[in-house]
């Protein structure tokens, strides 16, 4: 039925150029859209799709090559386009098989990776490298890697061989000691490096707490030398900073903790006894708080007093006690004296 064919041809237009079709012309139909065969080409290179394969992106069709050039990610290792699963890592795209540990070449796509110094590493290689890397200091003078222990000087690390001992001139290694300040020396003399032998001969005291030399203020106590900030209460670990300390069994305590631990709180005020202590009846008093427990009259340290439930009672109060109580107290006193 030509009429019908003609009718339909009149209503059909090419999707690209909007022109109609000649009656016997080949028409490309792609998903209901119609094209001249010459119009059905790659949006980038205007060439026919090889083997009819095209890629559609944002309504435009591309040949495989142009689609990859324009839109497909490039593998960071082999440079080929990545079709299918793309691994996005280290600011690049990778074929799963190309993204591997830079130490042991293990595939990382599924195992996961750790970035270390700009390199992607598997967990075990990262752990190994990190452990190795701890010793690898960079010399502040020559910028070379330091094998083993560095020499530390003015807060930086160096190869020991860049320096010599300020006293004997011997080449130094990491055991060299930096002396920042010494009494009797001008400021120009400070911050010198010494070999261990010369340093020991200088007689710089060693802190009893941190075992490091003491170059500033020294506290001497308990038969040892201490950094001021390292001489601390054995209980609260606060430095004494020149405040009075109390010694017990080779340890030093602040006033508060010495009394808390070893007694000598006043029976009356329950505070640490700052001045002289009066001790009697298994108790301690501030001298000015020692008083009769019945009438509160102050007792001098030489006053005669009676013991009453291990507390002092002055003579006047004792004599005001009921006679039968005095009798019992007397009997109890004889008992304790006999014992």
């Amino acid at each position: 039925m030509p009429g019908l064919a003609t009718m339909s041809l009149d209503n059909m237009f090419c999707t690209r150029c909007s022109d109609g079709f000649e009656p016997n012309e080949k028409i490309v139909n792609s998903n209901g859209e119609l094209w001249h065969t010459n119009c059905f080409v790659c949006a980038q290179c205007f060439r026919v799709f090889p083997e009819g394969i095209f890629y559609e992106f944002e309504g435009r069709k591309y040949c495989e090559r142009d689609f990859q050039v324009l839109f497909a990610p490039c593998c960071g290792k082999c440079g080929e386009f990545v079709i299918g699963r793309v691994i996005k890592a280290m600011n690049a795209n990778w074929h799963p098989a190309c993204f591997r540990c830079e130490e042991c070449n293990m595939e990382l796509a599924d195992a996961g990776f750790i970035k270390h110094g700009g390199r992607a590493l598997c967990h075990s290689c990262n752990a190994r490298i990190k452990a190795d890397g701890l010793q690898n200091y960079m010399c502040h003078k020559c910028h070379g890697v330091i094998d083993g222990e560095p020499l530390r000087y003015r807060g930086e690390v160096y190869h020991g061989y860049h320096f010599t001992c300020a006293t004997c001139g011997v080449e130094l290694d990491h055991t060299a000691r930096e002396v920042k300040h010494r009494p009797g020396y001008a400021a120009n003399d400070v911050n010198n490096l010494f070999c261990l032998r010369c340093h020991d001969k200088m007689g710089i005291p060693i802190c009893g707490a941190c075992r490091r030399p003491i170059e500033e203020r020294i506290v001497t106590a308990l038969g040892k030398h201490w950094h001021v900030e390292h001489f601390v209460c054995a209980k609260c670990e606060k430095p004494f900073h020149g405040h009075r300390h109390y010694e017990k069994k080779g340890l030093a305590y602040c006033e508060q903790h010495y009394h808390q631990l070893f007694g000598n709180l006043c029976y009356v005020c329950n505070q640490v006894i700052a001045g002289d202590v009066f001790t009697a009846l298994n108790k301690a008093w501030c001298v000015h708080h020692f008083a009769c427990s019945v009438c509160d009259a102050a007792l001098s340290t030489r006053s005669k007093f009676y013991e009453y439930d291990e507390r002092p009672a002055c003579r006047r109060c004792y004599e005001k006690f009921p006679a039968e109580l005095r009798r019992r107290l007397r009997r109890a006193h004889h008992y304790t004296v006999r014992r």
Partner: protein, 285 residues
């Protein structure tokens, strides 16, 4: 004596003016410590100016004849030490227990038969002396053992037969005197008072001690343990002859634990009361 008020008051008038003088002087020089000891005071209402001394920290009223402690005494809110020893007090006002700074309260040598309800609510009380009164476990106030700031409790010369197990709540207690009561038993909870350094149990009717007492630090040279004048089972009595530290050693032994549990299940009748308390001054009407 209280039934001869006119007789007792006449010779005291001289002393009374002395009391007023003390208060006037204290006011003048702003003395925070008031001594009104042995001034013949029979009622604090005779010296109303006392209640205006709001700044005082210590008030000593020992050796007077005070029968009633007015509730208004609690207006002296700065009091830290209140000493009412050796008076004729039969009752205390509960208001005392609201004194916010009271650390030491001495009501020894009085005639207390009871304590007011709510007596235990002292916020900072450290030393409580109730020696030589007529108190027992039944007449203590209900909240007596909530005073956990207490470091010394003197209950000697009273009439306790039992010590309530709530004594274990007084965690800061360092001194406990139960000298010359009628104690038949002491509770195991006494062993929880880990800071206890002085324990007076002499002159009671005790036969055994809970083994828990053995864990207390009562044998050091700063400690006091008084046990004499009881009815101890022979092994304890034998150890006591060697010294209190030997008793503590013995209390910790397995042998003693067996003896104690046997004794507690057998519950033999307690020893008879031996102290004649009728002559006690605290019994005077």
């Amino acid at each position: 004596m209280s039934h001869h008020p006119t007789v007792s008051c006449i010779p005291n008038t001289g002393k009374m003016s002395k009391a007023k003088k003390v208060i006037e002087e204290a006011k003048e020089i702003n003395n925070p410590e008031i001594d009104l000891v042995d001034k013949g005071i029979s009622s604090l209402d005779e010296i109303p100016s006392l209640f205006t001394l709001e700044n005082i920290t210590r008030l000593s009223l020992s050796h007077n004849k005070i029968q009633v402690v007015p509730a208004a005494l609690a207006n002296l809110v700065n009091l830290e030490i209140l000493n009412l020893a050796n008076n004729h007090i039969q009752e205390l006002p509960v208001s005392l227990s609201s004194l916010p700074k009271l650390r030491i309260l001495n009501v020894s040598l009085n005639r207390l038969y009871t304590l007011p309800r709510g007596f235990g609510s002292f916020p900072v009380l450290e030393i409580l002396d109730l020696t030589y009164n007529n108190l027992n476990e039944k007449t203590l106030s209900g909240n007596f053992f909530i005073m956990d700031s207490l470091r010394a409790l003197y209950l000697g010369d009273n009439d306790f037969e039992f010590l309530p197990p709530e004594i274990g709540n007084l965690k800061n207690l360092q001194i406990l005197s139960m000298r010359e009561n009628d104690l038949i038993e002491v509770p195991r909870e006494l062993g929880q008072l880990s800071r206890l350094r002085e324990l007076h149990l002499q002159g009671n009717r005790l036969v055994v001690l809970p083994p828990e007492i053995g864990s207390l630090d009562l044998a050091s040279n700063k400690s006091v343990l008084r046990l004499e004048g009881n009815f101890w089972v022979p092994p304890i009595e034998d150890q006591l002859k060697l010294g209190p530290s030997h008793v503590l050693d013995y209390l910790r032994s397995e042998t003693y634990k067996v003896l104690y549990s046997r004794h507690m299940s057998a519950k033999p009748p307690p020893p008879a009361q031996t102290l004649d308390k009728s002559k006690k001054a605290s019994r005077a009407a």
